[in-house]
């Protein structure tokens, strides 16, 4: 305790630089997103109106504020394109997270029950793909899934199909890509909680008459729920805003919100609508974000 008290002053000094950095490059930019989401589209550089011009004095700024409007948000609500892409994003994220949980749990469980020295090896093995570029990992799947790719070749050779199956540009390919990319994010928090569990608890359950199956559902699973929550949030939140995977693997018939935002921004050059889309996305994610923040803080700061 005393060490921490004496450390407080240097700790405050240490906070200054990262604090200012995050305010300038994380917090302030959100202000810009919010502001531009209330602006109007213009064919100009930058492509929005009004532009704040501090040199023009207070009167001009006042006029600029008056010009702000909620038009972009009205557009988002009234146009099916946006509503559908929000819905699709949430559905895709929910389905992917469930699948990730179903696949990740048994793997994490297997890891946690390995002998100690093997656990660190397998943990390394799970982390390594996370370090390799996700773009590469998606590209690897394109290799396999394309029309004359390895998967179709194998299926044809085994006479399981008579003609090549279309895998690319389908929802299945997208789900595959998402699950593949996010699996380590699901496994690691699950493994962390499962590995922390005392083996004596399972012995106690067995001693008190619980079969291995009962012991799992009565003891192991309830105790792993914090890990389930952390893993689910760690996957759900970024998947909602995912852009690259649906862009490369899913078909073009329906888009996720990340794609819509990208399209508005890069193709249609409609920055205000893209900003409004970002604001809505952020609002949608606020509850899971706050929840995640709590979990993170508890894990990092309560672990003493």
């Amino acid at each position: 305790m005393s060490a921490r008290r004496t450390f407080t002053r240097p700790a405050r000094l240490a906070a200054i630089a990262p604090y200012l950095w995050m305010v300038l490059f994380f917090l302030v930019p959100f202000g810009f997103v919010l502001k531009i989401s209330l602006s109007q589209t213009a064919i100009a550089q930058p492509p929005y109106l009004p532009v704040f011009d501090l040199a023009a004095g207070a009167g001009a700024i006042k006029a600029a504020f008056a010009a702000l409007s909620l038009d972009n948000f009205r557009l988002l609500v009234s146009d099916d394109l946006y509503v559908l892409s929000y819905l699709r994003s949430l559905v895709v994220a929910a389905v992917s997270t469930s699948v990730l949980l179903l696949i990740g749990y048994p793997v994490a469980y297997g890891m946690a029950r390995l002998p100690r020295r093997w656990q660190s090896v397998t943990m390394m093995l799970v982390i390594v793909p996370f370090w390799t570029s996700f773009l590469i990992r998606i590209y690897a799947w394109i290799n396999i899934l394309q029309h004359d790719g390895l998967l179709n070749q194998v299926l044809l050779a085994l006479h399981l199909v008579s003609a090549p199956v279309v895998w690319l540009s389908t929802d299945s390919a997208m789900y595959l890509g998402i699950v593949y990319s996010y699996l380590p994010f699901m496994i690691l928090p699950l493994y962390a909680t499962l590995a922390k569990m005392e083996p004596a608890l399972l012995e106690a359950a067995a001693d008190l008459g619980a079969s291995p199956r009962t012991a799992f559902w009565q003891v192991t699973f309830p105790l792993s729920l914090p890990g389930v929550g952390a893993g689910a949030l760690l996957c759900f939140i970024p998947i909602v805003g995912e852009f690259v995977i649906p862009d490369l693997l899913a078909g073009s018939s329906s888009m996720m919100i990340g794609q819509t935002l990208w399209l508005e921004f890069f193709t249609n050059k409609d920055w205000p609508v893209a900003s409004a889309a970002a604001v809505v996305l952020l609002v949608l994610l606020l509850a899971p974000l706050v929840l995640y923040d709590r979990l993170q803080r508890r894990q990092l700061e309560g672990a003493r």
């Binding site: 005392e198 004596a200 608890l201 012995e203 067995a206 001693d207 008190l208 008459g209």
Partner: protein
């Protein structure tokens, strides 16, 4: 030391009287157990981890209603033996008979044996009530019955009012009680206790030891406790098995273990002892004369079992070594039968109830003597540098061959 010897006469005899709260029907009412058949019989059990033999051809009988302690240093195999009784380890050889049935291969959740774990292993997500009810639910008991049984147990271990708490809201002593109640809930034929008091502080540990004994006597249940603390084993147990390197070296009552240890190792492991090595010189009238390098010739009572070797150890507990300024006065008649060693006090360790003196003999060896502080004023005390005579009777000496 002497004050802390347990009262052997009061050691619990198995009392089959039906206890108030919890009836261990399994133990009391089962007539199938023949009088000479022990409740638990361990037969030539071997457990290997790799090439290491944690338990090495160990056999042991435990009778119904006993409070048995497995005592030994860490790594001696006592916990492994206990875990085999609970079913967490499977013996590589041998049989474990409970009520005459071999349970060596029976899975833990199918054994009528329960265990109290070293660090309690309380389920952190369940309340006190649900922890205690866990085993009862597995037995498929009706809800109302579970509730009343849990209430009995909560009262038994004096946890009233804490049923809704989670384990991390409990003190160490309270956790220990929950663990005890949980392991008693299923009325096991044998309750296994793995260092159950190790996490408690000294005062609490001592009072809990007495409560455990009281509880065991009331329930008439068979308890097997594993401990490395010899005082704890002597306090609670009616019989103690001393283990070393996977084998049982001696099984005896606490008093036998202390006063007649089977080997030099046990003598040193259980309590404090002075040891002089020497050779048997002569034997007459039930007395042996043993010449030692450190203490000259020591006269000892001839042990009942005949001595087969000539090189032996003479052992004497510190509390049986008396100090005086000039040697024993009243025993002038038997002076030849008293062992007298002259030396100088070098260390005085005051422990409250007794004082331990280290006396450096003129031979250079050191003898420890502990004397009860029976008077408040230090009229009998000796101080460092003082010349004294350390004396002890032949009957208080042990002759150890190993």
């Amino acid at each position: 030391m002497a004050e802390e010897l347990p009262n052997v006469e009061a050691a619990p005899a198995p009392k089959p009287e039906p206890p108030v709260a919890i009836a261990p029907e399994a133990v009391v009412t089962e007539p199938a157990v023949a009088a000479d058949m022990p409740l638990l019989r361990i037969e030539a059990v071997v457990k290997k981890f790799g090439i290491f033999r944690a338990v090495d051809r160990l056999s042991l009988d435990i009778k119904a209603g006993e409070f048995f302690a497995l005592l030994g240093p860490s790594g001696c195999g006592k916990t492994t033996l206990l875990r085999m009784l609970a079913g967490f380890e499977t013996p590589d050889e041998g049989r474990i008979l409970l009520d005459g049935k071999d349970i060596a291969q029976v899975l833990p959740h199918q054994r009528p044996v329960n265990m109290m774990f070293q660090n309690y292993a309380l389920f952190p997500h369940l309340s006190v009530h649900d922890n205690i009810a866990f085993g009862l639910k597995r037995a498929g008991m009706a809800r109302s019955e579970i509730d009343s049984r849990v209430a009995e147990l909560v009262a038994l271990v004096k946890l009233d009012g804490l049923g809704k708490r989670k384990p991390d809201q409990l003190s160490g002593g309270q956790k220990q009680r929950v663990a005890l109640a949980r392991s008693l809930a299923r009325r096991p034929k044998v309750l296994l206790l793995d260092e159950p008091l190790a996490a408690l502080d000294k005062k609490l540990r001592e009072s809990t030891q007495l409560e455990l004994m009281e509880l065991q006597r009331r329930l008439g249940m068979t308890f097997i406790i594993v401990t490395h603390d010899q005082e704890e084993a002597m306090t609670v147990a009616s019989r103690i098995g001393v283990m070393d390197a996977g084998r049982l070296d001696q099984v005896a009552t606490p008093r036998e273990l202390y006063e007649a240890p089977a080997s030099r190792w046990i003598a040193e492991f259980v309590g404090d002892i002075n040891i002089f090595e020497g050779q048997v010189e002569s034997r007459e009238a039930g007395r042996l004369a043993i010449s030692t390098r450190d203490a000259g010739t020591v006269i000892v009572a001839e042990p009942r079992a005949p001595i087969t070797r000539t090189v032996v150890s003479v052992a004497i507990r510190p509390e049986k070594v008396k100090l005086s300024r000039r040697g024993p006065v009243s025993d002038a008649v038997n002076a030849h039968a008293i062992n007298r060693l002259e030396g100088t006090v070098t260390d005085v360790g005051y422990l409250g109830g007794l004082t331990v003196y280290k006396v450096k003999l003129d031979t250079g060896a050191v003898v420890r003597s502990s004397m009860a502080n029976t008077a408040r004023l230090d009229i009998d005390a000796y101080s460092a540098g003082q010349r004294v005579v350390a004396w002890f009777t032949p009957d208080d000496c042990l002759v150890l061959e190993q």
